[in-house]
Symmetry: C2
Subunit: 157 residues, 2 copies
């Protein structure tokens, strides 16, 4: 994605936030827009600490409490998605922007020989998951809102 496109997206996404806040009767605080902008500038997954440090570095001071708060709002607004990588080890939650991307799943690659250290996270999209979802919905009489699928493995030598 080029810089121009990203800038356009950021303008758009701020508008989406504005509408959401208005609908909900929440306030237009500068923190919310700045955090949103940071998130939509990023290319990859991040956790709260990443975001906090990044904003510190850029001399934009926000407290972690506010970041947690804001993330809750963005999740509800559908502006970001939450992930829980790390199968064996307990890790902090990861997030990523979600508005312009399509839903996808993740392949978590562990460093060979270590079952703790994550080497890489690859995104993929397989249409068969949709079929499974529909089967489950009719088999159990449920409405499925979301799913999470992770594969865990190692690079073939």
């Amino acid at each position: 994605m080029n810089a121009k496109q990203r800038e356009l997206n950021i303008t758009t996404i701020k508008e989406v936030l504005r509408q959401y806040l208005q609908e909900k009767g929440f306030r237009n605080t500068p923190e919310r827009y700045t955090i949103l902008e940071e998130i939509y500038m990023m290319e990859h997954h991040f956790n709260v600490d990443d975001l906090y440090l990044l904003m510190m570095q850029k001399k934009y001071h926000v407290s972690k409490a506010t970041i947690y708060n804001t993330i809750e709002i963005f999740l509800d607004a559908g502006l970001i998605r939450k992930h829980q990588f790390g199968e064996k080890t307990l890790t902090s939650s990861s997030y990523e922007k979600s508005y312009f991307d399509k839903q996808h799943d993740h392949l978590v690659i562990y460093r060979t020989g270590s079952d703790k250290e994550i080497e890489e996270i690859i995104e993929f999209c397989d249409p068969r998951i949709q079929g499974i979802k529909e089967s489950i919905e009719s088999a159990f009489g449920v409405t499925i809102d979301s799913h999470s699928l992770y594969f865990y493995g190692t690079k073939k030598n």
Copy 2:
């Protein structure tokens, strides 16, 4: 499963543990066997606190540190599986016995109207996931050891 079958399974599983401990040069402590037995008596998922309270109730004293320790061993031995239910909310890790069961995935049903409270967890097994796994392996040149798939939804009224 009837009582007789369960008793037989427990005898078998203890033998599996014995061999594992021997191979690894670990000790045969009574705690390990008692915890294993408790786990294999259970029908459902449990977390560390459940197990701790259950053992307290049965007047068998073990510390949580030992339970955490032992669970680590059982995971490595393939005697139990770890799960992370709770998509939005951070919850404690859940576990279940795995030796006699086939691999399966989970449908997490939230109470209608609440996106926090889990109403029910249903297990299912869909062969298509195997196909997806194989595609991923060849597409990215990886060996997949395990996966986790969760669907999150609500009961259809």
